[in-house]
Symmetry: C2
Subunit: 337 residues, 2 copies
Amino acid sequence: MATLADVARRAGVSQATASRIINGSAKPVTERLRVRVLAAVEELQYVPNAHAQSLARSQRSAIGVIVHDVSDPYFAEITRGLQRVATEHGRLVIICNSYRHPERELEYVELLRAQQAAAIILAGSGYHDAQFTRSLNSKLQVYERTGGRVTVIGRHQHASDAVMPANESGGYLLGAELFRLGHREIGVIAGPRLLTTTTDRLAGLRRAARDYSRPLRHVAYADFDRDGGAAAAASLLAQRPQLTAIAALNDSMAIGALAYLRSAKIEVPAQISVIGFDDMPIARDVTPALTTVRLPLAEIGARAMTMALDDSLRDRPPRIEEIGCEIVRRESTAPPP
Amino acid sequence: MATLADVARRAGVSQATASRIINGSAKPVTERLRVRVLAAVEELQYVPNAHAQSLARSQRSAIGVIVHDVSDPYFAEITRGLQRVATEHGRLVIICNSYRHPERELEYVELLRAQQAAAIILAGSGYHDAQFTRSLNSKLQVYERTGGRVTVIGRHQHASDAVMPANESGGYLLGAELFRLGHREIGVIAGPRLLTTTTDRLAGLRRAARDYSRPLRHVAYADFDRDGGAAAAASLLAQRPQLTAIAALNDSMAIGALAYLRSAKIEVPAQISVIGFDDMPIARDVTPALTTVRLPLAEIGARAMTMALDDSLRDRPPRIEEIGCEIVRRESTAPPP
DNA sequence: TCAACCTGGGAAAGGGCTTTCTTCAGCTAC
DNA sequence: GTAGCTGAAGAAAGCCCTTTCCCAGGTTGA
C-alpha cells in the first residue's frame, strides 16, 4: 500500500508539501510542485489511510446508526433518509443491527465510541428495562462527555436530541378510526411488551377506547413482524371469534394478520377490518390495500441525521422534534358487518 | 477521551503492560497488575481508539459492502445474510449505497480502500459500460494488489471470487413457466438496459422463447422498482392489449404491475398472468400471491461474506459459486383465458 | 559462587498522517 | 549593502496504539 512518504519521495518533495497539496490545504504551493505531486498520486494510485488521517486530525467524521434490523422495511426506510442526508454532507454511516438484543446495543455504543464516531443515532425502540436503560444512559453520557453527539428516534428515556414520532397520538388515531366506523370489540396485535413503541402506541389506543367508551379487552403480544402478526391474529380469533376489527401496531404484523385471514377464508373488510401502523411502502400493494397510520419514515431518518450533524446544537439543551402522523384510509377497513 | 496513557498512569504501570492486559496478550502479567489496570479501565471508561489500533496493528478488519440501495428489499435480504456472517466473525460491515450511480461505486471503492477494509463485496448488478468496467476493474486490482479481497455477487465482469445467482436459467424458468401454461404472447417488464442483471435474465427468457418457438416482441425497459413496473405494465398493455401474461424481471416491478392491473380492473390471473423474479419476502403477501423465481437472497449474502472472510482462498484462483433458483408457483399465474 | 536462564515489566520504535514551527531564498526599502 | 520582510518548502512533533527489544531481579544448576 503506497504511503504519503512514497508519494513525497517520488515527487521529490517533503511529506508536508505532499499532504498540503493532496488535502487542498490553505497554505499556498507552487503550481509546479502541485502537478508533480498529483502525478505521483496518480501513478502510485495513492489513497490516504483514513485511520491515520483520523488519528492525526483527531477529528471525527463517521456517524454510527444503531437499528434493530436494516432489512426490516421500517428501518430500511428510516435508514434511507439517514443515508441521504449523510451522503449530502460527505459523511460515512456505520450501520449496526442490534436485532433487538439490548446487550448488543450496549456493545455497539462502545464500538462506535472506539471508532471515533462523530455521532450515534439510536433508531430502534426503547426497552422497558430500567437496568438496561441506566447502563445505556451512562454509556451514552460518557460518549457525549467526550464530544460525541447522540440523537435518538422515538425514545424518551434519553436526555439527548430526539426525533419523536407521535406514537401515542398515532395509536389514538388508530383506535378512533375503528370506533368511529362503529366497531365495538376490537382485537389488538401488539408488539413485544418490552418495547416502548408498543406501549406508547397501545396507550394512545387505550385513550381512544376511553374517549369512545369502548372496552379494549383483547390484546395479543407478538413479535413485531409478519409471522408474529399472523400468529397473533389466529390466537385472537380463536379466543374471540366475534371480533369485527383487528388493530395491528405495525404494518408488518397487519400484513401477517391479512395473510392469516386470507388462509382462514375470512373476508377483509367485509367480515373483519384490519388496520396497521407506519405506512411502509408495501402497505398500498397488499390486498386489500392497508388502512394505516402514516409515519414519514424516511423524513424521520433525514431529520435525525440533520440534528446529529448540526454542530450549532452543541452544548445547548437537547432539542426534541415531534413528527406527526395521519391516518391513510385504504381498503382494509369498513363498518362492522 | 481517555487514552491508554491515562489508564497506564492511573494504574501505575507502563503503556505496554496496560495494552497487554487489555488485549489479553500472550505475555504473562501478574494478577495484581491485571486487577489494577482493569480497575483503571473501568473508572476511566476507557475504550481503545480503533483507528490507532488499526494503525498500530496494520491489520484490516472491516468489510465494505457496496449495494445499490439497502432499503430495497432485494438488497435488504442480501445484506441480512451478509451481516449475519460478519457478526458471527466479529467483523464490522460498512454499507455503501451507490443508488445505481457507477461513479459513486468507484468512489466507494476508493473510500473502502482508504478505510483499510479487509474485503469489498460488490452486491449490485454490473453495468454494460466498458469504460466504467475497466476503471472499476483497475481500481479493484489495485485494491487486491495491496492485500484486499474482492467478492462480487452476480457480476461476471470481474475476475474475483463470485457468488453467481443463476440469472440466465432463472429467466429461462420464468419464460418456460408461462409458455408451458399456454401463453403465446407475453409482455416483458425489464429493468434498465444498462444492468447485466436485466440482460442476463432476459437472455434466459429469450432462450425459453426459442425453445418453445414463441415470439418475444414486447419488452418494456423501466426502473427496477415498483413504479417502474406499474408504468411499464401500462405502456405494454396500451401497446398490445391482447397480452395474456406479463413477466417482470424482478418482484418489485411485478408488484407494480399488479398495482396497475388492479387499478385498471384487469383480473389476475383470470385475464392476465403475472410472474416475478427474486421471491422477496413480500411476494407471498400481495394478492394474488406472486408466482416468481426464487433466489435465496439471504443465503447469497451469507455465502459472499463467507468467501470474503475465508483467508485460505488468498492467492488461489478466484472461486465461483453458482446459486440455483427455482420456480415458486402461487396465485398470479394461470393458463390464458 | 557464578554462569546461564527465566520472567515480568518498561522503554522506545514504529504505523501513516497533519500541522506547527523553522528555515531559507528572494525581495523591498532605506 | 544590509536590515527586514514575505512566501514557499521542509523538519519534526504529535495523534494513540502495539510490539519488539532490552533490562533487572530472581532461579536454577554445576
